[in-house]
Symmetry: C2
Subunit: 229 residues, 2 copies
Amino acid sequence: MQNQSTATPLGTANIPLTERLFDALQRAIVEGEIPQGSKISEPELARQHGVSRGSLREAMARLEARKLVERKPNLGARVVTLSYEQLIEIFQLREALEGMAARLAAQNMSEMEIEELQSLLNQHGEQIAEQHGQAYFQKQGDLDFHYRIVQGSKNNQLIELLCNDLYHLLRMYRYQFGMRSKRSQQAYEEHQYLINAISARDPEMAELLMRQHIRSSRRNVEAVFLEKL
Amino acid sequence: MQNQSTATPLGTANIPLTERLFDALQRAIVEGEIPQGSKISEPELARQHGVSRGSLREAMARLEARKLVERKPNLGARVVTLSYEQLIEIFQLREALEGMAARLAAQNMSEMEIEELQSLLNQHGEQIAEQHGQAYFQKQGDLDFHYRIVQGSKNNQLIELLCNDLYHLLRMYRYQFGMRSKRSQQAYEEHQYLINAISARDPEMAELLMRQHIRSSRRNVEAVFLEKL
DNA sequence: ATTTCTTAAAGTGTCGACACTTTTGTGGAA
DNA sequence: TTCCACAAAAGTGTCGACACTTTAAGAAAT
């Protein structure tokens, strides 16, 4: 039996402080609550969250590993600064990684998983039809779809890398750069082709389609950026 | 002015303790000095290295991020356990990532870098001729070659990922699984083709060749493993 | 008024201590 | 002898303190 009345907010039991802190900070950074490029003062941030500097420090080390903050010895840490160049680099990474993921998914996804993926896409389709669903589709839906294919690859290295490491940095870009687009209809169709290839157990085709899909997505981002100038 | 006589071993000045510790531990793990799968006791390891637990803890957090140790809350940390399955997964990753790296290298490497790469390969060739240079070529040379192509991609995300994160895990496999092979002659030739493609500024071909090269390398590992059973 | 030197404030690096959790080891009951 | 309970030991989680480094502010000199 342990004290449930005093400190522990019920449900956070046994989850180490550092971990909760890490999640909280990650969310705050991704959503821009702590602005990009801003300097982080350990004593202040620790105080705000009511933890010791040591605990915060360990959370920061993990944030650094995910490239959400940058630290320089004796100079302290700052939230990463997002840039167009980095975003393009990430798209190139994704093209390679998710391409491989799609290839493996075509080999390794179970029939059931494929069905679920299809029904997820059907939902997206409805939402697009209903509300010209730009908001939802871009922000959550697209991410969900890609997420599942990565899971379907059954390659743990790939899953770890894309879903734990890169995922949050990418989310940060979506949050803070806007990144809405008029491509939802187009993306929806590309997703459907992809499912077809996976369903047909055609790894080669699945990889090809995924790579094209991400390349289109990148071009769209490039176009949006040019507009802004 | 700072005390040069007492503590600082001259040359380690200003490099934080945690960082030096991190490097030392990483080396020890990669080379198997601390055996794979072994449990790590923070107090003991800290004592051995003459640092406080806090410093060691931060180094451990970074090791964890590189997948060299695994930590579970309240249960402590163990060195990662290498497995055939994981190795295959890593090869799949590399196929995707280094394939992309080769593609980009064909676009972005400077003429000078290409020349240097060629002369590096020439050295390798000589070594193979001389001493049937299996040892060197496998352990260092091959890694060097791939390393340079990744650098040549000029994609910082890719460079970071392959040369900082995955690199050491891969080195650990080389160290501890042996992974010598009779493929050095074959690999040498494949490397030469790759340079030709890069030199011809043919991204498509460079990617294709790199992927084939890594796939061959994987097949070789698979074969070596089957032998062992 | 501008620059530079000096000194105080803030911040980071590192440590040792204590509370709580898990593991280990020992003795008694079946 | 085997199994369980329970105390002791070891280990992890978290904190606060102190030393050294960097940054900021203010005084002195040009």
